[in-house]
């Protein structure tokens, strides 16, 4: 009797082998991108020959049977474009959540696999997957899903046109580090060393000014002084060259908001009437109009950028009303990231106008983008200008350079190198010809 009990205790059931929900591999965000393998599909190179399906089916059913492959190359008859259906090995796979028998796991190598032992071919993973990548085998009825051939995908190996590329997920982590470094130095320089000089700096023949301040100055005095206009050349020139680089990399208030963002949970939604990106232009017009009417720069005393720049030292305004504005705007970070920069900043409004004619653009969703399942770029964008819904619909969103602060966090985060910085005139989609 005792022996029998021991035997029962020692026997392993399928239930014991099945991964528990709490054991599902979930990795912290900072770790995941390094282990995000996948196959990149280049629709421009794909000839639709189906060799990938042939070799894939060999692994699934040991036959040349394209219908049983885990990769499907389909052609849209209207647009004459090929597209591939294959597992993206998502960061947070929905198929794992959907599987009622816990047959799907994400391994530590980042590969999402189906354990055929537990799979009952219910097809829920197919429904849950935004790519519909798990495919039911018409011969065996089993669910087939790409497992990257355990790291050596045959479809990539045999693709004659090189349209499939294995990626282990790349990350330009240095951009993030460099940006924090530049922001810290700029903050220390403008706030601690050169106190208040962001608004206006005169060193010998060199004269630098805030463009919003100069506009108000001109409006209040009614005189256009060429030196004032020329003193904005550095910041305007930088904007034409690199978009709103100032906002993303140099602005001390922007850096302050980034720091606040690190410790602020996003729990409250911003009322929709606040959410107008045109509001900043209104504030700019109001500031210029007010300056003209009252004869002094009406916005500068309450400008949060100026306030923070003037906050340090004996003449600082640490205890002044200005810092109350800074604190109030920092409080808005509980709603969205960089609320001030998105909707209200008049300096940003001026720079946005010049960024519109700038030399560069950010492009997301070139051939490598795994639009449906990744959307990491949309998650990290501090200005909220990357439309995740469009990405999920498979559409490459256009990035409005008037709103982009060129922080390059999307480029930094994209594990597939799909977010890129390009010159404005560079074509990023195939060009049409005029007949």
């Amino acid at each position: 009797m005792q022996e029998q009990t021991n035997e029962q205790n020692n026997s392993i059931t399928l239930e014991d082998l099945r991964p528990r929900p709490e054991e599902k591999k979930t990795f912290p965000d900072h770790f995941m991108p390094r282990l995000h393998p996948g196959i990149l599909f280049d629709p421009k190179k794909c000839t639709g020959c189906g060799t990938c399906e042939m070799v894939c089916s060999l692994r699934n059913v040991s036959k040349i049977a394209p219908a049983s492959a885990s990769i499907k190359v389909l052609r849209d008859e209207d647009s004459v474009k090929n597209f591939a259906i294959l597992c993206q090995h998502c960061r947070k796979p929905l198929c794992i959540e959907a599987c009622p028998t816990r047959a799907i796991e994400k391994g530590e190598d980042g590969i999402v696999r189906i354990n055929k032992l537990f799979c009952v071919a219910c097809g829920l993973c197919t429904i849950a997957c935004p790519e519909a990548a798990p495919l039911q085998d018409p011969i065996t009825g089993e669910i087939n899903k790409c497992d990257l051939c355990d790291g050596d995908p045959q479809c990539v190996k045999y693709c004659p046109s090189g349209a499939l590329i294995l990626t282990k997920g790349k990350s330009f982590r240095w951009i993030k580090g460099l940006r924090w470094f530049v922001q810290t130095i700029s903050f220390l320089l403008l706030v601690v060393v050169l106190i208040g000089t962001f608004c206006s700096l005169k060193a010998g023949a060199l004269s630098l000014s805030c463009p919003a301040g100069v506009l108000q100055n001109i409006a209040s005095s009614g005189v256009v002084v060429l030196v004032w206009v020329l003193s904005t050349f550095l910041i305007i020139g930088l904007t034409i060259l690199a978009g709103r680089f100032f906002c993303g990399w140099i602005c001390p208030f922007g850096f302050f908001l980034d720091l606040v963002d690190k410790i602020t949970p996003k729990k409250i939604g911003l009322p929709s009437f606040f959410k107008s990106r045109m509001a900043k232009y209104g504030i700019l017009i109001g500031a210029v109009g007010g300056s003209c009417a009252f004869g002094f720069q009406v916005f500068c005393p309450i400008c949060p950028i100026g306030s923070i720049c003037r906050s340090h030292g004996a003449a600082g305004t640490l205890n002044g009303a200005n810092m109350g504005i800074v604190a109030a705007l920092a409080g808005l970070e509980v709603t969205e990231r960089r609320v001030w920069c998105r909707y209200f900043c008049p300096v940003g409004a001026i720079l946005a106008l010049f960024a519109k004619i700038g030399l560069i653009k950010i492009v997301i969703g070139a051939n490598q983008c795994k639009k449906f399942s990744c959307v990491q770029c949309a998650e990290v964008c501090p200005m909220g200008i990357i439309d995740a819904n469009k990405l999920r619909e498979g559409i490459s969103p256009e990035i409005p350079m008037t709103e982009c602060i060129t922080c390059m966090r999307c480029i930094d985060r994209c594990p597939y190198g799909a977010a890129k910085i390009r010159f404005r005139w560079q074509k990023t989609i195939p060009g049409n010809i005029e007949l």
Binding site: K44, T51, M54, I64, A67, E77, P160, N432, I433, L435
Partner: protein, 435 residues
């Protein structure tokens, strides 16, 4: 020597449209031993059912296998345009899908009283009604079919031109057109056969050797010229194309496309913008270019309007060569478009000029034997032998006339590695080619 049993389903589907009945019979092993496959067995089956004016579609032993460009199905019938027995190559994925659908040869005899579609899946033949597709253009017809019949991996469809009894009608593989210039679509329409659907969910056994042999052949192919390829333009270059037209295609080319398991694409898709005179607006369009001779013939007459006119031909299911013969000289685009539309409804016998079938050095009679769509880019006898070989083995004829470095024995090695079997096969092939 049962070399072929694994490469065939050993099944022949017989469809009697007069009786609306179908049966699947076994393929006679002796015929396979003697004739090997493709056009040779088709011809044999044609002769067996000669009295019923049959249409025979069949595949070769290599169709669907790891042999390069193993995409071919051959349609054999009495050409209503040329008056001789004709073998029309059906490329893209037709061959493999047919084989994977469970039958190797399909004989369609008699004619139905109402339009029908033949659907083949898992070795079962269904005859479906197609009355609602009469007069409907090809893209619309395809869309309706795909909605109604989910299991439709490869569709052969005739358009309104065939419905209206136009001898210059051409069958379309999906919305990709075909090389049918011999009146296959006309014959299908005369039988009230609107289309044939293959749903290839089965498979073929494979050997590791074949995969390696394929790699060796691909290396051999690209040793000299590398993988540089210009798709549709590569073939046009060989036939002879004007530089200005070449420039237009080059600019509009979006991507090269290949048939099943072809390492060297000879088709392209193009994107273009044109002024549609019917709507009086600019339209963005895409077109898949697969018919080299048809495109050249149309381009000769219409110059830069060739893209919209090709699209129109494809939409109505017309052969561009036949259209060119009837298209008036020096007409505006609007007039030409109207003329094509009229051609698809006016059952007017086109004047068949021999010149259009005498491009290159291949004898016109031989050219007509193979449907009139295979570019005759080799000297007559060599061209005939290469095309015959492809039609028997089930490999793309364009691929074989283009790459002479792929020898007969290179292909036969996919069937056997045994030296004595190989020499017997070579002997048989030689005998078939000579007769």
């Amino acid at each position: 020597m049962k070399l072929f049993n694994n490469l065939y389903n050993m099944k022949v589907g017989i469809v009697d449209l007069s009786e609306l009945s179908s049966e699947v019979i076994s393929l006679d092993e002796q015929i396979v031993e003697e004739k090997i496959g493709g056009a040779a067995i088709n011809e044999d089956l044609f002769n067996q059912y000669k009295e019923d004016v049959p249409l025979v579609i069949g595949v070769g032993p290599l169709t669907g296998s790891f042999a390069p460009a193993s995409c071919l199905a051959v349609a054999t019938f009495l050409s209503p345009r040329f008056g001789n027995l004709c073998h029309v190559p059906l490329m893209l994925r037709t061959g493999p899908e047919m084989k994977f659908s469970g039958i190797d040869f399909l004989v369609v005899k008699g004619s139905a009283s109402l339009p029908k579609i033949v659907h083949i899946d898992k070795g079962t033949i269904r005859i479906l009604s197609a009355e609602h597709l009469i007069g409907v253009d090809i893209p619309e017809g395809l869309q309706r079919l795909k909605k109604e019949i989910m299991d439709s991996r490869s569709i052969l469809l005739t358009g309104p031109a065939a419905d209206n009894g136009i001898p210059g009608a051409s069958v379309s593989i999906g919305f990709n057109g075909s090389l049918d210039k011999a009146g296959l679509a006309f014959l299908m329409a005369s039988k009230n056969l609107k289309g044939v659907i293959f749903n290839g969910t089965g498979g073929l056994p494979f050997t590791e050797d074949n995969l390696k042999h394929n790699e060796t052949l691909e290396r051999k192919l690209f040793e000299d010229e590398g993988r540089k390829n210009e798709g549709f333009l590569t073939m046009l270059d060989k036939i002879g194309i004007k530089e200005n037209l070449k420039g237009v295609i080059k600019k509009a080319k979006w991507r090269d496309m290949a048939c099943y398991h072809c390492p060297s694409p000879c088709m392209s898709s193009v994107q273009f913008t044109w002024h549609d005179p019917r709507k009086n607006s600019r339209v963005e369009d895409n077109i898949f270019l697969s018919d080299h001779l048809g495109f050249l013939a149309l381009a000769k007459k219409s110059g830069r309007d060739v893209f919209p006119l090709s699209e129109s031909c494809r939409r109505f299911g017309l052969d561009p060569v036949a259209v060119t013969e009837r298209l008036p000289e020096n007409e505006s685009l609007l007039e030409s478009l109207k003329a094509i539309e009229k051609m698809s409804i006016t059952p007017e016998e086109p004047e068949i000029k021999n010149e259009s079938h005498q491009i290159g050095e291949a004898p016109a009679e031989m050219h007509k034997l193979f449907g009139g769509g295979i570019p005759p880019i080799l000297p007559g006898e060599l061209w005939r032998k290469r095309v015959c070989l492809s039609m028997i083995l089930g490999v793309c004829p364009i691929f074989l006339v283009r790459f002479q470095q792929i020898s007969e024995s290179d292909l036969l090695k996919f069937l056997t590695k045994n030296e004595s079997d190989l020499s017997i096969l070579e002997e048989k092939i030689r005998f078939i080619l000579e007769n």
